[in-house]
């Protein structure tokens, strides 16, 4: 059965994260109402993004240029590489403006359940980059999950023969967090990682 243009639009919108069929219908109606000011610019932006955005061949970030803006930026520290699971993590770290080095996006974590092994991740590229004598530190910024830390340990093994310092993010009490509301695992990790004042 042929779908009308409207139904097709609703079906595609409903595939977006956070949108169900009902909210997709609302979004579609809103787009139709704002045809000139929103729908056409959005369609054009989607087309341009689909045609131009690609993975950076150096770090795996998403950008219209290759190498990406971060890899090309001469003001960034070339001696430090921060390894993250995905581009969303890179954006999170960039929001903090606390890190001025370069990134390496793995594209996921090792997961036996999902059949993701080391060869499916961008680990060989990291080892090549870390072998550069200009690189002195690799920060493993993976999630504090079993899969995240399994991946971090695997990468540590792969970097073992290189002359780089390998560090990882601290686990513990978040800023604004109250001990009473923290889970046992976070509290245990925070206690273990305590440091003198």
């Amino acid at each position: 059965m042929m779908l009308s243009d409207m139904e097709r639009l609703v079906q595609l919108l409903a595939r977006l994260p956070g949108l169900g069929p009902r909210s997709a219908r609302r979004a579609a109606l809103h787009l139709i109402k704002k045809r000139e000011s929103l729908m056409l610019p959005l369609a054009s932006a989607l087309g341009e993004a689909a045609a131009n955005i690609r993975n950076c061949s150096v770090c795996g970030n998403l950008d219209t240029a290759d190498p990406c803006g971060i890899c090309r930026d001469p003001r960034r520290d070339t001696a430090t590489i921060c390894v993250i699971e995905g581009v969303a993590d890179l954006w999170a770290l960039e929001r903090t403006a606390a890190f001025k080095g370069r990134y390496h996006v793995l594209g996921g974590t090792l997961s036996a359940l999902d059949g993701i092994g080391p060869e499916q991740l961008n680990i060989d590229g990291l080892v090549k980059r870390a072998a550069d004598p200009a690189v002195t530190e690799v920060i493993l910024a993976m999630g504090a999950t079993v899969d995240g830390q399994t991946t971090a340990h695997y990468i540590m093994d792969r970097l073992a023969g290189l002359d780089v310092k390998v560090t990882r993010l601290a686990h513990g009490v978040p800023v604004g967090g109250e001990l009473d509301y923290l889970d046992d695992g976070t509290l245990t990790a925070a206690l273990r990682a305590r440091r003198p004042l």
């Binding site: 036996a112 999950t145 079993v146 399994t150 340990h153 093994d157 695992g185």
Partner: protein, 256 residues
Amino acid sequence: MEWSDEGIVLSARRHGESGAVVILLTREHGRHAGLVHGGASRRARGLFEVGNRVQAAWRARLAEHLGHFSCELLESYAAAVLDDPLRLSALTAATAVADASLPEREPHPRAYDGLRELLETLETSPSDQGIAARWSADYVRWELALLADLGFGLDLSCCAATGSREELAYVSPKTGRAVSATAGAPYRDQLLPLPAFLAAETAEPADAPAVLAGLRLTGFFLDRHVFSHSPGGAGAASQAPAARERFIQRLRNAAS
């Protein structure tokens, strides 16, 4: 249908946007799957890390339905071993082996108790002992007990050829029975080495080669009787979970 039981998280797979299909090894209801609404959400994700012990309530309209779990954390074993590569790989290997080997919805209380004890040992072991720690031998013993629970137990009490209880050094790959050093000497190329810490009536501590020999022994019988019968496993060389292979590789690296 409704029941409540304690269980250990074996796996959690994202379902839809924020839901998760969680597989638990429960004490009274065996390996059991269920849907958790919001199980992959930012707030609940930590609850379903593999190895966590939870109090679970399962509800479904009919017994054959997938059903829904609601869970509460009892113990977070994974959090205690996240920083230790060896113990973390042992935890993921144990949960992956349990997930791949135990049948669904069939109670195996001994397998549950064994896994819980192993996870407790992993949690409380000091991280500086490496492969020499008690947990590495306990892991091998747990796999042996799992084989026995599944009906493929090895008889390591006496020599299959002479009946002797002394100097047990091999296991027959055909029968799964122990063979003494003297009786097995002419066939030692065809027999599997039996590490001393697994032989009956010995309480010798396990060193790295012994633990690796133990894993080779249990791996051989798990492959033959359990993993080769899993979906897609028939005829394949080995269908052992990747987490178990990584654990063995890490032990080898630590031992060398």
